[in-house]
Structure formats: C-alpha cells, structure tokens
C-alpha cells in the first residue's frame, strides 16, 4: 500500500512545535495543538488526531479522549470560514437573544451547529460569553459583537457576503 499523504502541513506542525518550550511535557501540549489544527483546518479530523499524537509521542486514543471532551473542536466536517456564536444564557435570552438566534437561523437557512451551503458560516449556540453587560451578545470568530439587533445582524450577514474569502477571520 502506498504511504498515505500527511494531512497536517509543515507549517501546522511547526506551529505546534512552537508550543513545546512553553510546556513541561508533551501531554500538556495536546490542547494548544488541537487549537492550532482547528485554526488551520476548521476541524480536527481523526487523521489529524493520529498525526498530532505521533508528533507528541502519545497514543492516538489519548489525544482523541481529550478532544472528545471539548465541544469546541469539530471532527466530522470543517466549520464554515467564520463561526458565529449566539449566547443563549439568561441575560442575553432575556433581552432578545432567543429572537436573534431564530432570526439568524432563518437568514442563514441553517440550524444551530450547521454550516451554510456555501461554507461561509457555521452557526453555534454558546453559553454566557461574559458580555452580559452588552446583552444580547454574539461572537463572530473571535470578535465580540455587542447589543445586537436584527438590523445589526442584517449588516453583519451582508458584510460576510461581501467580503472576500481571505478577509474572513
């Protein structure tokens, strides 16, 4: 059988190795490594788990065991190029968060956890984002959007449609 091609690029592996000096052992690098892979691939498929385990000198099952605990990492399909997290916790829900989630579902044509057909956006539901003073709040990628309204959602979605792929973070 021909050797299968590696999934993780040299760049990805180097970005993981850059964490080595910061941690006392390789096991402790698992979470930072998963974050790196997730950033490059938008998910952490099982092949990446095997390659990360190989790099860290761990059994694939050890890495998989850790990964499966954290809902943050998707495994089956990559997230859209941007992930939108809508807060469902109380302060946001009380001030219109539930309506915003419904509105986003309708506008994007997806349910929470799903990615739009064009692969641009994955809609997620989050627990308290630590921004209840700006309720209702959402995270777009890693950017906090405060005091959201339907109008602001319209503008946000329009900007995601306009922006070129490499502008999305």
């Amino acid at each position: 059988m021909p050797p299968t091609e590696r999934l993780l690029s040299d760049e990805t592996l180097d970005a993981i190795r850059a964490h080595f000096p910061r941690y006392p052992n390789r096991r402790a690098v698992v979470l930072p490594a998963l974050h790196v892979v997730n950033e490059y691939l938008g998910c952490v498929p099982i092949r990446a788990v095997v390659e990360v385990a190989d790099l860290l000198g761990l059994a694939p099952a050890e890495v998989q065991d850790t990964l499966s605990f954290y809902g943050f990492f998707k495994q089956d399909a990559p997230s859209g190029r941007v992930r939108i997290w809508v807060c469902r916790s109380l302060s946001c829900a009380a001030l219109g968060g539930e309506d915003l989630l419904d509105y986003l579902c309708e506008k994007l044509g997806v349910q929470p956890g799903e990615t739009t057909a064009d692969g641009r956006v994955t809609l997620e539901v989050a627990e308290c984002l630590g921004a209840c003073d700006f309720a209702p709040a959402i995270l777009v990628g890693t950017t906090l959007h405060k005091n959201m309204t339907r109008e602001k959602i319209d503008a946000l979605v329009a900007s995601l449609e306009d922006s070129r792929e490499d502008d999305l973070s």
């Binding site: 096991r27 302060s91 209840c132």
Partner: protein
C-alpha cells in the same frame, strides 16, 4: 474602580521589601477571601502551598470566567492586566513559585494579544523573567493557556486536568492542588480578581482594605450586573451591601427577584432584599442578574438547568441523571401537569444532588430550581391545575 487608583508596581515593591512570611501575614491580616465564588481565605491557601514540599511550584490564574452573568474578570483583564500579573508575581514571592499560568477561556481569545503584549513589556522591564527587580534568584514567568469552551474547567481540579492535556473532569479532593496540583506539584489556583486585590493590599496595607466590608467579608468586590436594570456593568462595591442598595445603584429598584452568584447561586425574592451580599449571608463570585416584574421564574430555572445539562462532565450520577429530571419537572410545571407529590420528590432529588455530586457544578445545579420552588410557589402552582 479602586484598581485604577493603585500606583503600578507599588504592591510588588512592598512584597519584595519583606520576607515571604510577612507577605502572607499582610494578606492574612486583610482577611482577603477568594473572589472566584467559594471565598476561601487567600492567605491560608498560599501558606499551605508555601509549606508544601516541592521545588517546582505553580501560580495559576483562573480566567475561565464562565458563570452566567459574570464578566468582571473580562474587564479586569482588559483594563488592569498589569495588576493581575503583579498579583501573580506577589503570590510567587509568597509561595516560592517560578511558574505562572493564566487559563483563559476560549471565548476571550480577543484578549490574548493584549495579555501577551503586557507580559512582554513586563519581561522587558524586568518585572518577569530572571532576577526580577534585581532580586538575585527570584525568577518567575507567566504563560497564557487557552481553554476550549467548557464551564466545568473553571473548577480548579478540572482546570488542572485540562492544563495537563486531559479531559476537564474534576478530581476527587483531597488531595488538594496546594500539594498535588499541576503535574503533581504544589499549586495555588486563584481568581483573576483575587490577584488584583492582593496587589492593593500589599500597596495600601491590610487596614486600608479592611476599612470596608464586613467582619467576615472584608473589602470591596467587583459585581457584574446585568438583566432588567438601567445601568448594567461592573461595579466596585463593599461586601455586605444589601440587595436593595445594590439595586438602587444599578437602576433596578422595581426588580421582583435577583439572581446572586449566577446559575450556581441563589434566587433572592423581593422580600429578602434587605439581606447582605457577603460570604456569611448571600455569597457570590460577583454575578448579579436582575429580574424585572414581568419575568417568568420558571423560564429562569429552565434556562439555568439547560446550562448545567450542557456543561455537566457526566462523571457522576447525581449530576448527570439528576439535572435532566429537574428540567423535565420544569416542563411539567409549565404544562401544568406536575403534581404536588412529584414536585416534593423533585425537591428531595435536588437536595440529594447538593449532597452527593462530586463537584460544585452538580452541587449547585439544583439551587435555582429549589429557590424558585420555595420562593415563587404561587407563581409555579398557578399552573398545576390544582392537582
């Protein structure tokens, strides 16, 4: 905010000018208790970590802030990061640590660049690194480590598991982190705000800190206020303040109830608004959610239970199996087909969860359910159809 009035570096200078035992004595005299919610005396935790044998000790800053309704750590990290790092450095002096770690929740990734920049500047100014402030042999540095979206990782033993690259499942305690913490080393885990107050105490003295607050809950505390009020935000107020006073401050006078302490906390009905927010009365990590006259308290309890079901690690039965039963009960109450006997059964299930769950998540998961049933019985029974 008090933190803005403290001269940068004054706390660390004061800590380096005295023997570690004096640093601990000063924190002890201040009465400072952990600002993460549980209110454990900070000096005692540091003293135990200091006495614990081990040449590698760790200072961990718990910046996993995930309790619904809490955001004061976000504000502290954004506006006063230097104070948090200075406080960690003071803790390092006190316990004899060389390594510090900030466990930052993934949702706060937008703060990371700022934190790294502040750390870098501190290294350049010899406030971190080797021979800090010219003191021979005092080496200490801080790394930022990202969480991955799990509330239970804020529990200190789960946080340590997570840092070690494991699933974020709470450990049995004892052993405690102060002797068997990160990778088996003595470790102190403290809340972001606790570190910042330690700086103030070293800079200004224990008496200055104690001048406010109550005897058992000294000093100020930051409160994260949200919900049905006119001025949501972070407030720096003395412990012991009554719920009514706090509501007047934030513009929520007409509230029918206030959730103190987040999903893990208590729901305080209007008739108890004269009670004080302090460790000996209504304890809190700082989350205050105001419920206006129109709020449906069953929906409040439902939202919190869904949160706990989402976030339970599933390790132990009372929490894993109990929370869904309570949620089911709430749905029955909504429909009006929960009998009084079943409601009583659910309440005793809740009490079992409080006693038998392995960590604070399961122990606190039923508390809002129980306080709503107890304090808003009429509102809830209104829907039982008289069964």
């Amino acid at each position: 905010m008090t933190f803005g009035e403290i001269e940068p570096g004054a706390g660390l200078k004061s800590a380096l000018a005295r023997p570690p035992a004096d640093v601990l004595a000063r924190i002890d005299a201040s009465g400072l208790r952990g600002r993460g919610g549980a209110g454990f005396p900070t000096s005692l935790k540091w003293e135990l970590a200091q006495k614990s044998k081990g040449d590698k000790k760790y200072v961990i800053c718990n910046a996993d802030e995930g309790e619904p309704g809490t955001f004061k750590d976000r504000v502290i990290l954004g506006d006063f990061a230097d104070m948090v790092f200075e406080g960690m450095t003071i803790a390092a002096v006190a316990i004899g640590a060389r390594h510090g770690i900030v466990y930052l929740r993934a949702e706060y990734t937008y703060l990371r660049g700022h934190l790294e920049a502040v750390l870098q500047r501190r290294r350049e100014n010899n406030l971190l690194g080797e021979n800090i402030c010219g003191r021979e042999g005092f080496d200490f540095d801080i790394e930022v480590h990202m969480g991955a979206g799990s509330y239970v990782c804020g529990e200190e033993t789960a946080l340590i598991e997570s840092l070690e690259g494991q699933r974020g499942e709470p450990r049995n305690r004892p052993p405690f982190p102060i002797d068997t913490g990160y990778l088996g080393n003595p470790t102190t885990v403290n809340n972001v705000e606790t570190f910042a107050w330690a700086v103030c105490i070293l800079a200004k003295g224990a008496d200055w800190f104690k001048r406010l607050g109550t005897e058992k809950s000294t000093g100020h505390k930051l409160f994260s206020v949200s919900g049905d009020c006119r001025r949501p935000g972070v407030y720096d107020l003395p412990l012991g303040i009554t719920v009514a006073e706090l509501l007047a401050e934030v513009g929520g006078e007409d509230a029918k109830a206030v959730q103190v302490g987040g999903a893990a906390g208590q729901c305080i009905p209007r008739r108890d608004f004269q009670r004080g927010i302090a460790y000996e009365d209504i304890p809190t990590g700082g989350s205050i959610i105001v419920f206006g006259p129109g709020r449906d308290m069953l929906r409040v309890a439902k939202n919190f239970l869904e949160f706990f079901i989402d976030e339970s690690c599933g390790q132990c039965t009372p929490c894993r199996e109990g929370a869904p039963r309570l949620l089911e009960g709430i749905e029955m109450l909504h429909r009006g087909d929960c009998s009084m006997t079943y409601l009583d059964e659910l309440c005793s299930l809740g009490e079992t969860m409080q006693l038998a769950s392995k960590c604070g998540l399961g122990q606190t998961a039923p508390s809002t359910f129980l306080s709503v049933v107890q304090n808003f019985r009429d509102e809830i029974l209104g829907r039982t159809g008289g069964n």
